[in-house]
Symmetry: C2
Subunit: 458 residues, 2 copies
């Protein structure tokens, strides 16, 4: 452990320069225009894996962006850890909201500021350096594989095919992922559950062209008004989702589970301040934490239609569109929920418009048991780093591929995240504290060590 | 009358070339970037007025786009007609929907295809040529003034100031405007009423940045969802506008008036086909024609918020915006209605968001009496051209400056429009039939003649 700490001290500047090199690559997966950057990012990681001691490191082409695979198999009798991460990032727009260039990382106030500083280039990078250090200090306690993809922020469309094709190559005991948050260094936590996701896009089409709103207003059904009516009817006044069948599969937590969850500290004033609002939403009958952790939600991610330029154009628009995502809880199936939502949306459309709707992507929710070597190794690693046992939390975010991994590879995942909510991932001014970056680099070798020990005992 | 017809025959090609020159100027008033084109269009019209016999023709600067003024005062004992029109046009977007370049007029199927072909370059041009022909044939029967502005499609913000400043110069007996439609050459009509307009813009602001929809979804109020809720609540399920006080000033037509209105031919199948919809809207208790003619309406003209690019971005947007216009009927006041709407919208916003709303522009509705020399002169002119008495119709569109003219100048307007609904003004592929263009050029000198006669008698 002292060795690792010293290694970080000695190599700190090189480590940061390597991470910054990765961040500087514009690997935004939402736009097909970035193909070359996706390949550059994949090759950059492959080169690091090779330099850091992998027996094998390769870039695999997929129908989408490439997957980087690497491995170091030291002893077949030891357990094997599969590290998953992603080198793609969210779009950085709106660019004018950033204090510094999102693709030119800066250190200010003890944090790295850049798109991907946390999600997931920063967190993924901790694994690359932990791997280097375990190799350099002769402490690698498990076999290790890496599977780093480039489509996580855009639906991970190619990873299922990759897992199916290379099922044997990927055989492991646990998947280790750093792509989530913890509460704080003072109150460490491990994400033990994630919501699922069902993402749809809806288009309401009315007249075959934009019409004059004076001449036709009142006689022709307005697609923008209809889309608003439809969206408004997707939730009732208690904040419950009004799609028939939506809650059928939802697991209702017991009172005991809810009481345990309520132990997690939560300061609504701080929370409101952190996002700049003066009041919070919550589904009737549930707390804020429950609303983000164990209850499904429905949010409009984007909406557009008609004239959106400056001034006043008096048109009755030909169409209106929206992107709508639903966060799911255990037992809800992403595609089934999309089907229910789309069919309900169609039923809400009045005569005079046509509705097109499609399922864009999604994945099921995930909950980890808390008494397995996989979870306990994480608990011990955090305890050693932070001097305090981490609490398990159910996070609102989704990593849809976790259910894919379980289905295709039959392997459970552990979410050893070191991000903070204040890192503002997916938003302008994303950041990642250096403290968390280096704590993660120290915690990961501990996970390897304790996992090997616990598996041996078990 | 024969002289006029012959004059058109002889000068047809030159007339079209002059009109095309005007259309080719990109005088789109919605964007401030077109200043130079606005001036070019104004000067083009001034030059035509000068060449066509005006005693005076000048371009007047305003805080916005210039106004062209021209006059020919032949005899103080004759009545004076003030011709109003506008040289500015709507934006041509979406450009990919046009069959030919919107600013390079083409003649196909007996029509001119271009932005402004009808609204209002084409219709305004009829007056310029009628003026030329009355001068050339020595038949000018009234004094005439021209006031041609460049902000009609963007709120006519400068014209009120112009009218106040030049009230004396503009003194006239009637304002003659060609900026509306008629039913068809087989069923000529004169617009005897127009709806008013109240145009507002609403912005709902939530968190201070786009948030991760998984981590925050359920806890933070979503501005896009709220905007949809608000817009949905602006109308009830009967199609009535649910803004308190909205209908207080609305004049309810008598059964006799409604019966007269119902004489206007209306084929719902043709109407639906013309706009490409399979069903029409109508406020409960009113027909389609009543819904567009004598009832107020509310339409979303544009809506935007969050992520609108390709693929799936899982954000809870920081804000959402909409442009909303209300068409008004007699006695509703545009600014009062905007105030009612904005105050209702604010009252509908839940805690957790802030609403910004502003009145962009508007004007009151207009109704013309049918027994005055001003109206009867138009009736006689159409009858002579089309062989059939025109029927008076109440149109859904708005020309807000008509109420401004009445308030500031104390002059009533007559709407002698020759457009057709199929001209698709404000839409891609705007057109104007040559037949209507030349019929208008012949009808206007008749108006001058009959107006002088009727005023003399009166």
């Amino acid at each position: 452990m002292e060795n690792i700490k010293n290694y970080i001290e000695t190599n700190r500047e090189r480590f940061l320069e390597e991470l910054f090199g990765l961040i500087r690559i514009h690997s935004v997966s939402a736009s097909a225009a970035n193909k070359a950057d996706m390949v550059r990012a994949a090759e950059y990681i492959r080169d690091l894996l090779e330099a850091n001691g992998a027996d094998r490191a390769e870039v695999y082409a997929t129908p989408g962006n490439p997957v980087v695979y690497g491995e170091k198999m030291i002893d077949p009798s030891l357990p094997t850890i599969l590290v998953y991460g992603h080198y793609d990032v969210m779009p950085a727009e709106p660019l004018d909201k950033w204090t510094s260039n999102p693709f030119e990382p800066e250190i200010r106030d003890g944090k790295i500021w850049a798109r991907g500083a946390d999600d997931d280039k920063g967190q993924l990078f901790m694994h690359l350096k932990a791997f280097e250090m375990m190799n350099a200090t002769g402490t690698l306690a498990c076999n290790v594989r890496f599977m780093i993809e480039g489509e996580e922020e855009a639906g991970s469309e190619s990873i299922a095919g990759f897992c199916s094709e290379y099922r044997d190559m990927l055989r492991s005991d646990v998947i280790l992922i750093s792509d989530t948050t913890m509460i704080s260094p003072e109150m460490p936590s491990v994400t033990s559950g994630l919501r699922g996701l069902s993402y749809i896009q809806v288009e309401v089409e009315g007249p075959d062209r934009d019409l004059h709103s004076g001449i036709y207003g009142g006689a022709v059904v307005n697609p923008c008004n209809v889309l608003c009516d439809i969206i408004s009817k997707l939730k009732d006044s208690d904040g419950r989702i009004a799609i028939p069948g939506f809650y059928d599969a939802v697991a209702v937590p017991t009172d005991a589970e809810r009481a345990k969850m309520a132990e997690r500290p939560f300061d609504p004033e701080k929370y409101k301040q952190a996002v700049g609002v003066d009041a919070l939403a919550a589904e009737k009958g549930f707390t804020t934490l429950e609303s983000t952790g164990i209850r499904p939600t429905l949010d409009v991610n984007g909406i557009w239609g008609g004239y959106t330029g400056e001034g006043a154009k008096t048109i009755l628009p030909a169409k209106a569109s929206a992107k709508i995502s639903m966060r799911l809880v255990p037992y809800q199936k992403a595609e089934e929920i999309a089907t229910l939502a789309i069919s309900h949306i169609r039923s809400l459309a009045p005569a005079g418009v046509r509705v097109r709707a499609e399922y864009l992507h999604g994945g099921e929710a995930y909950v980890s048991p808390l008494d397995t070597p996989e979870y306990l190794a994480a608990e011990k690693a955090y305890t050693e780093i932070y001097g305090r046992k981490p609490i398990p939390i159910r996070s609102g975010g989704s990593i849809p591929i976790i259910s894919t991994f379980e289905k295709i590879l039959g392997i459970k995942s552990i979410l050893m995240g070191f991000g903070l909510e204040s890192d503002a991932i997916h938003s302008p001014n994303e950041s990642y504290p250096l403290e968390n970056l280096f704590a993660g680099m120290r915690a990961i070798p501990l996970y390897f060590k304790y996992y090997a020990e616990l598996k041996k005992k078990g």
